[in-house]
Amino acid sequence: MTPTVHVLPFEQHLVELENKITELRALSESSFLDLSAEIETLTQKLNASRCETYQCLTPWQVTQIARHPQRPRTLSYLERLFHDFVELHGGRQFPDDNAIVCGLATFHGEPVVVVGHQKGKDTEDNIYRNFGMPHPEGYRKALRVMKLANKFGRPIITFVDTPGAYPGLEAEERGQAEAIARNCLEMSFFQVPVVVVIVGEGGSGGAVALGVGDAVIMLEYAIYSVISPEGCASILWKDASRAEDAATALKLTSQDLLKFGVIDEVVTEPVGGAHRDFETTAQNIEKAIAKYLALLKPMSVEELQQRRQAKYRQMGIYTDQK
């Protein structure tokens, strides 16, 4: 038996169908009745209904999928898509930060460096991972390891999945603003290809610190935003419960970001979200990473840097009222 999938609020009607199918199956087994036709009909209805639901998700529903507790995490992709992973823990100067994992690995036989936010699988793991919210030392560890890749000419692949930087006392004392800023600055200089994969929540500064890439790709139901919908709602309406409206206002879905030129590609997710079909999701990501590495690896350092600079140089929309 696969573990029970956590059901999101907007999926409730699907669960009712699922339950009915399960009941019929049980009944058909215990009673030797042939209910296959009924089961088939209901299954088709379930699939159609799920497709329908997933075809017109609201930004808030997407946010819920992006945060799904069973959504595949950085380590899931690390295990599935990479080999020979050697996790490195040392930022050298700071305690290790378990909200970020990084290390050496191979991708399709080629050595790469992988860095990513890591949320927990369950409550205990989430405490260990600080819910994927890094402290400054996490960014600094990531930077040290990315610099290793840069020094030895290995591509960097980052996975973004964080609610954001941890708003704590010590994080401030240890200069989390500096750490985030430093990563942006240093990643600008890198002489190797950087592929950023936004797989879950791309939360503000915490995401940006791993988010400067030659290619930025994003899972269909991931989000990427300057502020969480809840945070935005409390500022706008002094009411965090209006997060749904804020999610809409913020334009934080993969489609929105593609339109703004902030990401290069949306990586399709299976209907029902990545957590319902990890293998397909992983394969889609694998293809996308392979594609961008193939594109970027032949480029000269100059070309790579110019391209990266040019890309971010033009981010922003404004008018000149001269």
Binding site: A165, A181, G205, R313
Partner: protein, 271 residues
């Protein structure tokens, strides 16, 4: 007469009293202006309007503004309580400028610089596409002219109304500083009260030398968010300039009366 005289002095009468926010002394506005908005009794540093800041630092008559005509669009069609477009219009009307940062050429203690000063009165000095673009252009100007870059920040952070595009300004400005750095153009970052959020976590924290005004609140997360998260009252002085100096996050705390002089000294080191 400083550069700002033309634009600002004539709109606010100076024969009024202001109350010090720390010692509650009532001070004649004219005296405050003369003292660059520092309480003579308790040394409290009032918020210094953007134009006064330029006058504080730039040698008289040397400031020449860049890119004054750049103005924000509304890429998200952002609908808050008040639509973004309206908020922009109001801020523009109030401040008589188009956006939350003023950039330009200036001399400080006789040394040429590119100077950029955030304008907190304009939507809390928040950084959207225009602020990002103006900072980048200022950096590019600094590189072209081989002048040091001096940035005075006072900002609530990224401008939410521009969503992900405002977040991208962190990378965009960080990259501009990377270019400054590659070209070995000095960058002095001066932090005024408050400097928080995405501005701190990008350009403001990347100075070769980082100065701050006494008492300035400097941080990434705001104190209220932190208190909510850790469910504790923050210690007194937390995230203030003096505290951050102790924590090694910034280099110096500089009294406003010494600001120009100190920037001048540092510029001479780089000259």
């Amino acid at each position: 007469m400083g550069w700002f005289a033309k634009t600002r002095r004539n709109i606010i009468p100076s024969n009024v009293w202001e109350k010090c926010k720390r010692c509650e002394e009532a001070i004649y506005r004219k005296d405050l202006e003369k003292n660059f908005w520092v309480c003579q009794k308790c040394d409290y540093h009032f918020a210094l309007p953007n134009l006064d800041r330029i006058n504080l630092l730039a040698d008289e008559g040397t400031f020449e503004e860049f890119d004054a005509a750049l103005a924000s669009d509304d890429p998200l069609q952002f609908q808050g309580v008040v639509p973004y477009r309206e908020r922009l219009k109001k801020s523009q009307a109030k401040t008589l400028v188009k956006e939350a940062i003023t950039t330009g050429y200036a001399k400080i203690c006789g040394l040429p610089v590119v100077l950029a000063v955030f304008n907190f009165d304009f939507m809390g000095g928040s950084m959207g596409s225009v602020v990002g673009e103006k900072i980048v252009r200022a950096c590019e100007n600094a590189i072209q002219r081989r002048h040091p870059f001096v940035l005075v920040s006072t900002s609530g952070g990224a401008r939410m109304d521009e969503g992900i595009l405002s977040l991208m300004q962190m990378i965009k400005t960080g990259m501009a500083v990377a270019r400054l750095s590659m070209e070995r153009i000095p960058f002095i970052s001066f932090l005024a009260d408050p400097t928080t959020g995405g501005v701190t976590a990008s350009v403001a924290m990347l100075g070769d030398v980082i100065l701050a005004e006494p008492g300035a609140l400097i941080g990434f997360a705001g104190p209220r968010v932190i208190e909510q998260t850790i469910k504790q009252t923050l210690p007194k002085g937390f995230q203030r300039a003096e505290f951050l100096k102790e924590k090694g996050v910034i280099d110096m705390v500089v009294h406003r009366s010494q600001a120009k002089n100190t920037v001048g000294k540092i510029l001479r080191f780089f000259a």
